[in-house]
C-alpha cells in the first residue's frame, strides 16, 4: 500500500477497466461518475492539510476504472468516512459510500494491514474486535454499583434495551461509562435491561472498512437474538451502532425504535436531579455518525447545558462542520498505518482545537473517542489541562452517584 506520489512519476496509462467501474457502481451507485473535480471535497477533508489529495483523486481513479491505482492508494485506508466531503459536494457524490465500495473490492484479493486483519478476525470469531471472550461481555456490570438486569434472566418485556456495544462492554474507559449509564437508568427508575452475552458487535465500522460479510453475519445474529425478546426501544451509546440500527437493519428485517443514549436522556432531562458539581468549562465534539450522518446535534448539547456549573464553549468545527476524531470507518483499528502516512493524527488536531477554546473538559458521546482523545491529550502535551469525559460520566458526576 504505497501511495502514488504526486509529481514526477512514471506516466500513468489510462486503460479503463469497465468491469471494475460496473462492480463499483453495483456496490456504491453511479454518483462517483458525476464528479467534476472541483476539489471541494479535498479542501474540507480532515486530511486536507496532510498533503493528501483525498478524496478527489480516488473519485477520479474510480471514474477512470483504474483499479490498481485506486486499490493501491493509501488514501483509500486513511479515509474515516466522516462525510464532510459529501455534505458539500456540488455533484452530490456519495464519496464515503464509494470509498467503502472500493474497500470491499480491495478485500476480494488483497492483503490487509495486520491490525485491521486482526480486528476483522476477532469480530468474526469472538463477536468483538478486541478478541476477548464473548462471555466477558457483561464483566462491566460487576462494578456498576447497581443491579444490571439481563433480558434472558428477566423473562418479561422491558421498556428499554440498552445495547452496550463492544467499547462499553470491554474497554476499561468504556466500561466506566457503561457503569455510569447503569446508575443513571436506575436513578431514573427506567425499566431496562441489557442483552448480555447474546449481544454481538454491530460491526458497522467493519462494514465501512469494506467487510460487508462480517456486518451481515453479525446483523443476522443480533436480529435473531433481539427477536427473542420484547422491548419498547433500543438505546445504544455507539453512534456507529445507532447508524446501523437506524439505516441498515430495517432492510435486513430488524426494525426497532432506536435512540442514541443522549437522545433518550435528553427526553428525561426534567427527571434528572442534577446538582452543582465541579465548575467545568467544557467543549463538545460532535461524533460524525451521530451528527453529520444522522442529523442529531441538539441532544448532547441539551444534556451538557443542563449540568449545573458547566459552561459549554463551541469549537470552530462543530455541528455539521464537526472535525473527525480519526476513528471512523475502521480507521480506529488502523492507527499504525495512519501513522506511516500522515504527520499528525486527526485526534491530535482535534484536541489542539479543543484546548484552544480554553476548555478544561472535552465532552464526547461516542465510545471510540474517549481512548483516541485521551492518547492525543498526552501526545499533544495537554495532560492535566484537558480532561476527556463521556457526557454520561458528567451527568453521573452531577447526580452525585459516582
Amino acid at each position: 500500500m504505497t501511495p502514488p506520489e504526486t509529481g514526477l512519476t512514471a506516466p500513468l496509462s489510462l486503460r479503463p477497466d469497465l468491469d471494475f467501474v460496473d462492480r463499483l457502481t453495483a456496490l456504491a451507485g453511479d454518483s462517483f461518475t458525476r464528479c467534476y473535480q472541483c476539489g471541494t471535497c479535498s479542501a474540507v477533508c480532515p486530511f486536507a492539510f496532510q498533503g493528501t489529495s483525498l478524496p478527489r483523486q480516488e473519485m477520479l481513479l474510480a471514474q477512470w476504472g483504474l483499479k490498481d491505482e485506486l486499490l493501491s492508494s493509501s488514501n483509500l485506508w486513511l479515509c474515516t468516512t466522516c462525510g464532510n466531503c459529501a455534505r458539500l459536494c456540488p455533484r452530490e457524490v456519495d464519496i464515503p459510500g464509494t470509498i467503502r465500495a472500493a474497500r470491499e473490492l480491495y478485500l476480494l484479493d488483497r492483503t490487509l494491514t495486520p491490525e485491521l486483519a486482526t480486528a476483522f478476525e476477532n469480530t468474526s470469531r469472538h463477536g468483538n474486535p478486541f478478541g476477548l471472550s464473548a462471555r466477558k461481555r457483561t464483566d462491566w456490570t460487576a462494578g456498576a454499583g447497581v443491579e444490571v438486569p439481563v433480558l434472558s434472566r428477566l423473562g418479561r418485556p422491558v421498556e428499554v434495551l440498552l445495547f452496550t456495544e463492544c467499547y462499553w462492554s470491554y474497554h476499561p474507559r468504556g466500561q466506566a461509562a457503561a457503569q455510569a449509564m447503569a446508575r443513571l437508568l436506575t436513578r431514573l427508575g427506567v425499566d431496562w435491561a441489557i442483552l448480555g452475552v447474546e449481544e454481538q458487535c454491530v460491526a458497522d465500522s467493519q462494514r465501512l472498512a469494506g467487510e460487508t460479510g462480517i456486518f451481515e453475519e453479525a446483523a443476522a445474529a443480533n436480529i435473531a437474538a433481539l427477536g427473542k425478546y420484547q422491548f419498547d426501544r433500543l438505546v445504544t451509546p455507539d453512534p456507529h451502532a445507532y447508524n446501523a440500527f437506524r439505516n441498515l437493519y430495517p432492510a435486513l428485517g430488524g426494525r426497532y425504535a432506536v435512540q442514541h443514549y443522549t437522545q433518550f436522556l435528553a427526553e428525561r432531562l426534567g427527571e434528572l436531579p442534577l446538582h452543582p458539581a465541579a465548575e467545568r468549562r467544557a467543549t463538545f465534539h460532535d461524533p460524525c455518525y451521530l451528527g453529520r450522518h444522522n442529523g442529531e446535534y441538539e441532544a448532547p448539547r441539551q444534556l451538557l447545558q443542563a449540568i449545573p456549573g458547566l459552561t459549554l464553549v463551541e469549537m470552530g468545527h462543530c455541528r455539521a462542520e464537526g472535525y473527525c476524531c480519526g476513528g471512523g470507518g475502521g480507521a480506529i483499528w488502523n492507527s499504525a498505518f495512519a501513522k506511516d502516512h500522515v504527520d499528525e493524527r486527526l485526534a491530535e488536531v482535534r484536541v489542539r482545537e479543543a484546548a484552544g477554546t480554553g476548555a478544561d473538559t472535552l465532552a464526547v458521546c461516542c465510545p471510540f473517542e474517549v481512548s483516541l482523545f485521551e492518547d492525543a491529550v498526552k501526545s499533544t502535551g495537554n495532560d492535566g489541562k484537558l480532561a476527556v469525559r463521556d457526557i454520561v460520566e458528567l451527568l453521573d458526576e452531577a447526580l452525585g452517584s459516582a
Binding site: P4, T6, G7, T9, P11, L12, S13, L14, R15, P16, L18, V21, D22, D30, T33, R34, Y36, Q37, S53, R56, Q57, L60, Q63, W64, G65
Partner: protein, 712 residues
C-alpha cells in the same frame, strides 16, 4: 439670438428643490427671459403652462431648472421650442446641503449655464431625402437565413447573397446538433436545413442570390449602393446584415498533435463527416473505431492558439462523444480538456455525457500525439488533477478546431464588405478578429452605421444562438432604416435630428475629422474638405473635438456653447471658493453623478458640471480657455478607454487622451500645474466611488492654491 427666439424659464420647487434653494430669489437671476415661472411641480399639470406659453408667446426656447435631463423627457417636450434642462434636483438639492450659500451659488451658476446653452441652441434641420427600406443579408448560413426570414416577416424586402452555389452554410457540414431540450438529452438533433432554406427562398419578400459575392458597398443607411458579382450586379438597400460566419482554425496549428501527418488524427469538422457514415471508421485503414480521444477546446500552447474560448467547443466534443457511443456501446471515449464550458442548461448535457459508461473526462493538456504500437496512436497529456503524465491509446484522435471569424485579418482571404469609405473597405476589428463594437451596450453594432454583424462573424456561437443572433441583427437593420427615414440618429443618441455643420471657409483641409470619426461618416470632397454622409453619423461630436480650427458644430452642441457655459460661471477671487469645471460624458459619467444624488450622497459644491456627448467631443480649446479664464481645475469625467474600452463611441475617451498633450502644452505656457487638469475614467458601476474621486481631485486642486489667471 435670444431676441429672435424668446426664452421661457421654468424653475421647479418639487422633489426637495424648494426646501434646498430659495427658488424665488434665483428666479430674479433669469434676466432677459420672456417668461419666468416657478411651480411646486412642473412635471404635473403645470407642464400645461409651458405648452401654453410656447403656443401663446411664441417661445423658441425653454429652460427648465428641475430634475435631471435624463428623466421626464416625454413630459418636458414642447415642440417647436428647444428645451434645455438645468439639473437642480439630482446634482444640487439631492447632493448638496440645503440653505448653504455654496449650494445657492451652485444653483445660480447652473441656471446661468443653462441659459447660456439655450442661447447657443438652434432647432435641427433633419436630413430626410428618399430612403430605401430593403435589407441586404450577406451569407446564407444559419444566422443569415434567420436574419432574412426575420426581416422579410417584418415586412421588409431582403436580398440574401451567398457565395456558395447552395444556401445552408456551415449547417451542411454538421452531421447532427446537440440536444436543445433537457427531456431528450439522448437525442441528437437532425437539422432542418432544407426546410429552412425552402422557407426563406419561398418567401415573397426574399431574393436569394447564390454563387454571388459583394464587390462594393457605398453610400449610407437608407441608401447603400451595392455592387455584386454573380446573379446580379447592382442593388440599392437600406441596411446590411453581415453573416459571413467563421472558418475552422487551420490544421497547421495542430501539427504537434500529428494533424496532417498522422492520418488518424482528424479535426472536429472531419469528425462530422466521419460521423455521417453508419459506422465511424478511421481514415488510415477503414477499421471501426473502439478508442477515441477528443481534444476539446485545446491547442498547443503557442502564439498561434486562439486567445478566446467558449462553450461551443465543449458542447461539440460532448456531442461527438455521443456519436461514438451511439454507434458502438463498447467503445471508449476520452474527452481531454483544459476548460469545460457548459453554461446554463448546457450543464445538463455535460452531466448526461459524463455519466455515460465508457466516456472518460480527463482534465489536462496534451503534449503530443505519436504513433504507438499496433497501428494505434499514443496521446500524452499532463493531467492537471493528479499532476501526472497520462498516456492514452487511441484509434482516432479528434482535434477541436476553434472558430475564426471570417473577418479576422489572420485569414488568407478575410471576408470584406468592400466598403467604399474613406477609412477603408473593411470593418474595424476588435482584438481576436471579431467586428469591433461596444459589446456591452450595442452588441450588434459594427463601427459602420447601418451594417450589423450576426452569427459567428459577430462572436463564436452555436447554431441555435446564430439563428437568434440573425433575427436580432435583422431588427437592428429595420431600426436603422426607420430612423434614417426620419433623419434621426440610432443609439446611443436615438432620435437626435441634429447634424454636424462645417464652416468651410475656415477649414484647413487637414482631414483630421475624417480620420477620427469612429464610424467613418466623413469622406473628402475634391477640395479635401470633409463631406458628411448624414445617416452614417451618430452625433457623438468627436469630429467637433478633433477640429484644430473649431469649424465643426451641431445646432445644439458646439465649442461656442461649451465656452459660453463655462463663461457663465462666476469665478470668485477669494481663496475659499475654488471653482472646478467638470466635463462629464453624458453616457456613463453624468448618469453616475445623478446616481450619487439619488443615493443622497454629497460631493463638493465648487464643481460645475457640463454634460458632453463624449469626452472625444471635447475640443482642447474648451479646456485651455477654462484654465486661462481662471478655473482652479478641470476634470474630464468619461468612460474607460483602452482594450476593454467602455466608450459608447468606441474611441472618444482614447482620443481625448491624445488631445490632452495640447492641453498640457497650454498649461505649461501659462506656468500652471499639470495636475489642475485630469481625465478621470469612470463607469456607471463606479457611481458609489464618485464622491471620493471628485473630493480627492478637488482637494488636490485646492492644495495647488488658486489659479493665478483668475481675474485677468
Amino acid at each position: 439670438m435670444s431676441a429672435d427666439r424668446p426664452t421661457g424659464v421654468y424653475l421647479c420647487r418639487g422633489c426637495g428643490i424648494g426646501e434646498c434653494l430659495d427658488v424665488d430669489a434665483l428666479a430674479a437671476a433669469a434676466d432677459g427671459a420672456a417668461v419666468t415661472r416657478t411651480s411646486a411641480a412642473f412635471c404635473l399639470e403645470d407642464a400645461q403652462l409651458i405648452t401654453q406659453d410656447v403656443a401663446e408667446q411664441g417661445l423658441g426656447s425653454v429652460v427648465i431648472a428641475a430634475c435631471s435631463p435624463r428623466v421626464n423627457r416625454q413630459v418636458f417636450n414642447f415642440p417647436p421650442a428647444t428645451v434645455r434642462r438645468v439639473n437642480w434636483r439630482e446634482q444640487v438639492a439631492w447632493s448638496h446641503p440645503a440653505g448653504e450659500p455654496a449650494t445657492e451659488e451652485l444653483a445660480r451658476d447652473l441656471l446661468q449655464m443653462g441659459l447660456a446653452s439655450a442661447r447657443h441652441t438652434k432647432p435641427p434641420t433633419p436630413y430626410t431625402p428618399d430612403h430605401e427600406r430593403s435589407t441586404l443579408v450577406v451569407g446564407a448560413g444559419p444566422a443569415g437565413l434567420s436574419a432574412a426570414l426575420a426581416a422579410a416577416e417584418a415586412g421588409h424586402a431582403v436580398t440574401l447573397v451567398e457565395r456558395a452555389p447552395e444556401a445552408g452554410g456551415f449547417l451542411r457540414r454538421i452531421h447532427r446538433g446537440y440536444p436543445t431540450r433537457a427531456e431528450a438529452l439522448d437525442t441528437l438533433v437532425a437539422w432542418d436545413t432544407d426546410d429552412l432554406v425552402q422557407r426563406v427562398t419561398a418567401h415573397p419578400r426574399v431574393t436569394l442570390l447564390t454563387s454571388t459575392t459583394v464587390t462594393g458597398i457605398s453610400g449610407q443607411p437608407g441608401r447603400f449602393r451595392v455592387t455584386l458579382e454573380g446573379q446580379a450586379s447592382e442593388l440599392v438597400v437600406g441596411a446590411v446584415v453581415l453573416a459571413t460566419g467563421f472558418e475552422p482554425v487551420g490544421p497547421e496549428h495542430f501539427a504537434s498533435y500529428g494533424l496532417g501527418r498522422l492520418p488518424d488524427v482528424v479535426t472536429s469538422v472531419q469528425m462530422e463527416e466521419l460521423a455521417a457514415a453508419p459506422e465511424i471508421r478511421r481514415p488510415s485503414d477503414g477499421r471501426a473505431v473502439r478508442r477515441v480521444v477528443l481534444l476539446a477546446c485545446d491547442g498547443p500552447a503557442d502564439a498561434g492558439n486562439l486567445p478566446y474560448g467558449g462553450s461551443v467547443a465543449s458542447m461539440v466534443a460532448l456531442k461527438q462523444a455521443m456519436y461514438v457511443r451511439q454507434r458502438n456501446p463498447e467503445a471508449l471515449v476520452f474527452l481531454v480538456y483544459e476548460d469545460m464550458q457548459t453554461p446554463g442548461l448546457e450543464e445538463l448535457y455535460y452531466r448526461f455525457v459524463q455519466q455515460q459508461r465508457g466516456v472518460f473526462m480527463v482534465r489536462g493538456h496534451v503534449s503530443q500525439v505519436t504513433e504507438g504500437g499496433d497501428g494505434a496512436l499514443l496521446v500524452t497529456a499532463q493531467d492537471s488533477v493528479l499532476a501526472r503524465e497520462l498516456q492514452l491509446e487511441a484509434d482516432l484522435v479528434v482535434c477541436s478546431v476553434g472558430m475564426v471569424p471570417t473577418s479576422a485579418a489572420q485569414l488568407a482571404a478575410p471576408a470584406s464588405p468592400h466598403l467604399q469609405y474613406l477609412q477603408g473597405e473593411t470593418l474595424p476589428l476588435h482584438r481576436a478578429g471579431f467586428l469591433d463594437s461596444n459589446f456591452l451596450c450595442f452588441p450588434f453594432e459594427t463601427r459602420r452605421t447601418g451594417v450589423y454583424a450576426a452569427g459567428c462573424v459577430h462572436r463564436a456561437q452555436d447554431v441555435a444562438a446564430s439563428r437568434r443572433d440573425g433575427a436580432a441583427a435583422a431588427l437592428k437593420a429595420l431600426q436603422v432604416v426607420e430612423k434614417a427615414s426620419q433623419g434621426a440618429a440610432v443609439h446611443p443618441r436615438v432620435g437626435d435630428l441634429g447634424l454636424p455643420e462645417f464652416f468651410m471657409q475656415k477649414c484647413t483641409a487637414c482631414g483630421r475629422c475624417t480620420q477620427e470619426c469612429p464610424f467613418g461618416a466623413l469622406d473628402l470632397d475634391d477640395q479635401r474638405h470633409p463631406q458628411l454622409n448624414p445617416n452614417r453619423c451618430r452625433r457623438c461630436g468627436i469630429c467637433m473635438g478633433a477640429c484644430p480650427v473649431q469649424v465643426i458644430s451641431f445646432p445644439d452642441y458646439s465649442v461656442e456653447m461649451l465656452g459660453a457655459m463655462q463663461k457663465a460661471v462666476d469665478l470668485p477671487e477669494d481663496d475659499d471658493r475654488p471653482r472646478i469645471l467638470v466635463l462629464a460624458c453624458e453616457n456613463d459619467a453624468y448618469p453616475a453623478l445623478d446616481m450619487v444624488g439619488i443615493n443622497r450622497r454629497q460631493y463638493p459644491a465648487h464643481l460645475r458640471v457640463v454634460p458632453v456627448r463624449c469626452l472625444g467631443s471635447v475640443n482642447a480649446v474648451v479646456v485651455a480657455d477654462a484654465v486661462q479664464r481662471g478655473y482652479d481645475g478641470v476634470a474630464l469625467l468619461g468612460c474607460r478607454s483602452g482594450e476593454n474600452y467602455q466608450c459608447h463611441f468606441i474611441q472618444g475617451s482614447e482620443l481625448l487622451g491624445t488631445r490632452m498633450s495640447n492641453v498640457r502644452e497650454t498649461l505649461g505656457r501659462l506656468a500652471l500645474e499639470e495636475d489642475r487638469v485630469q481625465v478621470l475614467e469612470t463607469s456607471i458601476a463606479d457611481a458609489h466611488r464618485l464622491p471620493e474621486v471628485l473630493s480627492a481631485f478637488a482637494e488636490g486642486v485646492v492644495a495647488l492654491g488658486p489659479n493665478p489667471m483668475k481675474g485677468f
